[in-house]
């Protein structure tokens, strides 16, 4: 933990064994810390805290109330104002640590982590930014500024107005995480979401990054595993498209068709399906609720990216459990894209 002197919160925190307060790590940062503390296999991650944002905001004079009235001006300031030197040092430090991690190259997911999102009654889902495939020091700084600016997107400002949160002082943290490039992405339900059968773990899986399997735009493989790890059913889906990372120097992702000859093949072996089901079951036990889990397999290793209660099983009492939503990266959500598109096209 990098202390910021005088006992004030640090600018950045490497996530590990301990839970971290939502007030300094934001909703996503806090839930990611929780996932890690539960011993879930999650890729290496760091949070640039709300203290970092506040130091930046102070140095650029963004705390004055009048500034809040013109989101566009604030966004321009956030994009262009000089970075205070302690923050420059912090960003360098973070980037360098990712650089020495094992792996072919640095590829980071940078995500805004608002202090009010995922706070139970308010979802803020998709309001803030995720930038995938960040591969340079300069790119990291740009991505951080973009996440900060997302706090002042027209939609976010409208949302706060509608929710009568205008008087509160919004703050934001940024989660920076090693991107794992899954060979196979999956979504797993620790109970059957349709029948409610608690003995059946249901997995949907497809090739490539997770967008395909969470967006509903491809027909993934559908696997049912019982408590003993036996495959009850394996229905091969066509898996029409897969999402891939752009090759360097590109920093985005692209969708490519799955070769015809592979559309009829299984994305998971029986052993892999059983292993994933068992990891999911043990996480659900620790969380204390049936979970909807996103994850992937990279170089044979299983990683989990996000876990939350299964919404179709929720009753009113379960809403409170949303607090326990734990999330990681990358889970490129379909709605992220569609909403950002709306934002761009909004008058």
């Amino acid at each position: 933990m990098a202390r910021n002197g005088n006992g004030s919160p640090p600018y950045f925190i490497w996530l590990g064994e301990h839970d971290v307060d939502r007030a300094i790590a934001g909703g996503k940062g806090a839930s990611l810390a929780r996932l890690l503390s539960l011993g879930v296999p999650v890729p290496e991650a760091c949070v640039l805290t709300t203290a970092a944002w506040e130091a930046f905001a102070t140095s650029t004079g963004l705390q004055s109330p009048s500034a809040k009235d013109d989101p566009a001006r604030i966004r321009a300031l956030v994009a262009n104002a000089p970075m205070p030197s302690p923050l420059v040092d912090a960003i360098s430090h973070i980037y360098q640590r990712f650089e020495v991690l094992p792996g072919a190259h640095v590829s980071l997911a940078v995500r805004s982590s608002g202090t009010m999102e995922d706070s139970g009654s308010l979802s803020f889902a998709g309001l803030h930014d995720t930038i995938l495939g960040v591969r340079s020091h300069a790119g990291l700084e740009i991505a951080i500024r973009q996440c900060w600016a997302s706090l002042w997107s027209d939609r976010a400002v409208d949302y706060r107005r509608a929710a009568r949160l205008v008087d509160e002082n919004p703050s934001i943290a940024v989660v920076i995480q090693q991107v794992v490039r899954p060979d196979v992405s999956f979504v797993l339900f620790t109970v059957d979401p349709v029948t409610g059968n608690p003995d059946h773990t249901v997995i949907t899986a497809t090739w490539g990054l997770g967008e395909g399997v969470v967006s509903g735009r491809v027909t993934p493989d559908h696997i049912v595993v019982d408590r003993d790890g036996r495959i009850v059913r394996y229905v091969v889906g066509a898996k029409e498209f897969m999402t891939l990372e752009d090759p360097p120097p590109g920093e985005g992702t692209r969708q490519v068709p799955v070769p015809r000859v592979m559309q009829g093949l299984r994305a998971l072996t029986d052993d892999q399906a059983a292993r994933i089901a068992s990891i999911g079951q043990s996480l659900a036990e620790k969380l204390g609720f049936p979970a909807d889990i996103e994850g992937g397999i990279a170089d044979g290793q299983v990683w989990l990216f996000q876990a939350r209660p299964i919404t179709t099983l929720q009753d009113d009492n379960d809403v409170a459990r949303a607090r326990l939503v734990v999330s990681s990266i990358p889970s490129i959500r379909h709605e992220d894209h569609s909403q950002r598109k709306q934002e761009r096209t909004a008058p």
Binding site: D183, W207, G208, L244, E245, P247, P259, V261, M262
Partner: protein, 554 residues
């Protein structure tokens, strides 16, 4: 029946449409550009059809091979089997069967196909009907027929999955990496197949001629006289010893799919002409093979780099399909060497021995006249007691057939008989699509008199002097750096690719033998260029663009 034959025969040629045909039968110009002998036809009509039927059933392929001979030209086609089975279900079974098979092409070749081919070739080598009574000779004819049928069954067992493997790889490559079939094919060269090795052996023979100081002799002696000239000197005789070794190993091949054509062992003039070409051009077959293999390796490395961002499963699938396609590219030449070439050559040599008895009895003027009879007629001849009447009937029949063959050579057979071919629909599986790429797109016509469109065969563009050769015998005159223009090329032609600047054929597609070997030799090729041998003249300047598949006349 020969015995009842009047000797006058029926009118020749018959009207192409006078033969009743179910469906569409096309003239296979790629394999049979010239008239085929009656005995060659009989063999095709029995062994080839039998093999196709056997193997296609094994792979659940729903089709029936049909072949007929009209005016000594072969027409064939495949029809759906009747009664019509559940096509969709059979299609799935066929795809599964072929998919299983392409994963173990080489394994099955080594464990099963090659040993059975070798055993049958050994049997053929050992056969000699000359001292057998008629019953023994008839039994031997049955045995030859059985062996030929087995060989063609093995042939199709290899050809169906082989074509599927190459086509499936081309399609996979196109889907994940993009580019043309030819980009995909660039990864499949350098497979060290028998065709390439035979070319290298011929190169070594040229190397021997060089070190024996025979370059002058080869450069100044007409090819017909080279043999006798070589016999006159010690170094020449040393070379002839090596030539015998080469022919023993690689000489069981002939120009075409017709057992009436002499093998290189019987007539080594083409091998000698190629040695002369290699000497003139300084072509180094070994270096060329190394270079081709190096290029393929580089293309594979580049493709793997392009796949770096893909999931592991895609990379594994790519490697698996590449391996299958490389095995298939290897087997394409390998099976051809042992079945098409050695198998047919050995059948020819045994059948020639069946001509020995009739010649002694005065029924045939020459052993090779036996090829002018059909299979049934040969059996009848073997079983008959020689009488003056039989003698005159057989002699008449042979000369009638010889006259017909002469006339047939001047005929231009129609592209098909029967119902007009349907528009080529997108074939439903990689095997059928592969077959389509083997035989090539239907002929294209161009309004521009200076352009002949064809199918891209091998990349690159070259401008040079054309050498039009309709037969391997014509092709002997090819000079280094000339562009070979021909109807079709069979594997025995391939050593010429070492000295030709480019090659043009009137038949075939990107998976045809000619295209594959041209890529192997790294020379541009346009295949399936309809009318090329008529529209181009020897000596004419032409540009061959193998990337686009177009020939420009200057």
């Amino acid at each position: 029946m020969i015995v009842e034959s009047t000797g006058t025969g029926t009118a020749f040629p018959v009207d192409w449409s006078s033969v009743s045909v179910t469906g569409t039968l096309t003239h296979d110009r790629m394999h049979f550009p010239h008239p085929i002998s009656p005995l060659g036809s009989s063999l095709a009509e029995t062994a080839f059809v039998y093999g196709h039927r056997n193997a296609s059933r094994e792979y659940h392929m729903v089709m029936e091979f049909q072949t007929i001979t009209i005016n000594h030209y072969r027409f064939d086609g495949v029809l759906p089997s009747s009664p019509a089975p559940d096509i969709a279900e059979q299609g799935r079974l066929a795809e599964d069967a072929l998919r299983d098979e392409i994963g173990r092409l080489l394994e099955r070749w080594h464990a099963e196909h090659f040993p059975s081919i070798e055993a049958r070739l050994r049997q053929l080598r050992a056969m000699d009907p000359r001292d057998l009574p008629a019953t023994g000779q008839l039994a031997m004819l049955d045995e030859i027929h059985r062996i030929a049928s087995d060989l063609w069954t093995i042939y199709f067992r290899i050809v169906f999955p082989m074509t599927t493997a190459i086509q499936a790889f081309d399609e996979f490559y196109g889907e994940v990496i993009g580019g043309s079939d030819q980009d995909a094919q660039a990864l499949l060269v350098g497979t060290n197949s028998k065709s390439v090795i035979a070319g290298i052996a011929l190169g070594d023979l040229a190397g021997s001629a060089h070190s024996l100081g025979l370059e002058q002799l080869f450069a100044t002696t007409p090819v017909e006289e080279v043999m006798s000239q070589l016999g006159q000197s010690e170094s020449g005789r040393a070379f002839l010893g090596q030539l015998d070794g080469f022919l023993e190993e690689y000489g069981l091949r002939s120009d075409l799919f017709d057992i009436a054509t002499p093998t290189w062992q019987e007539d080594p003039s083409f091998a000698l002409a190629t040695v002369a070409s290699y000497l003139r051009s300084g072509y180094d077959a070994r270096a060329a093979q190394m270079e081709a293999a190096g290029k393929a390796d580089a293309a594979v490395t580049e493709a793997r780099e392009q796949l770096a961002a893909y999931p592991e499963a895609v990379c594994q699938q790519f490697d698996m399909m590449l391996q299958a396609a490389r095995q298939a590219a290897f087997l394409q030449e390998e099976h051809n060497f042992y079945i098409d070439q050695q198998g047919l050559a050995l059948v020819r040599l045994v059948v020639l021995r069946f001509g020995n008895d009739p010649v002694r009895k005065g029924l045939l003027a020459s052993e090779d006249h036996i090829f002018m009879l059909t299979g049934d007629e040969v059996r009848e001849l073997v079983a008959s007691v020689p009488t003056p009447e039989l003698r005159s009937n057989v002699m008449d029949l042979v000369s009638q057939r010889q006259r017909e063959m002469e006339i047939a050579r001047t005929l231009e057979p129609p592209p098909f008989v029967g119902q007009p071919p349907e528009e080529p629909a997108g074939a439903s599986n990689p095997s059928l699509r592969g077959m389509a790429n083997f035989f090539g797109a239907p002929p294209q016509l161009s309004d521009d008199p200076s352009r002949i469109p064809g199918n891209p065969g091998s990349r690159g563009s070259v401008t040079g002097v054309a050498r039009v050769a309709r037969t391997l015998d014509d092709a002997k005159h090819l000079r280094p750096g000339e562009i070979l223009v021909t109807t079709t090329t069979m594997p025995p032609w391939t050593p010429l690719f070492g000295v030709a600047a480019a090659v043009v054929t009137e038949t075939g597609g990107s998976l045809s033998h000619c295209a594959i070997v041209a890529r192997e030799y790294g020379i541009p090729a346009v295949v399936g260029a309809w009318g090329a041998t008529r529209r181009i003249e020897t000596g004419q300047q032409i540009t061959v663009d193998g990337t686009k598949g177009v020939i420009t006349l200057h």
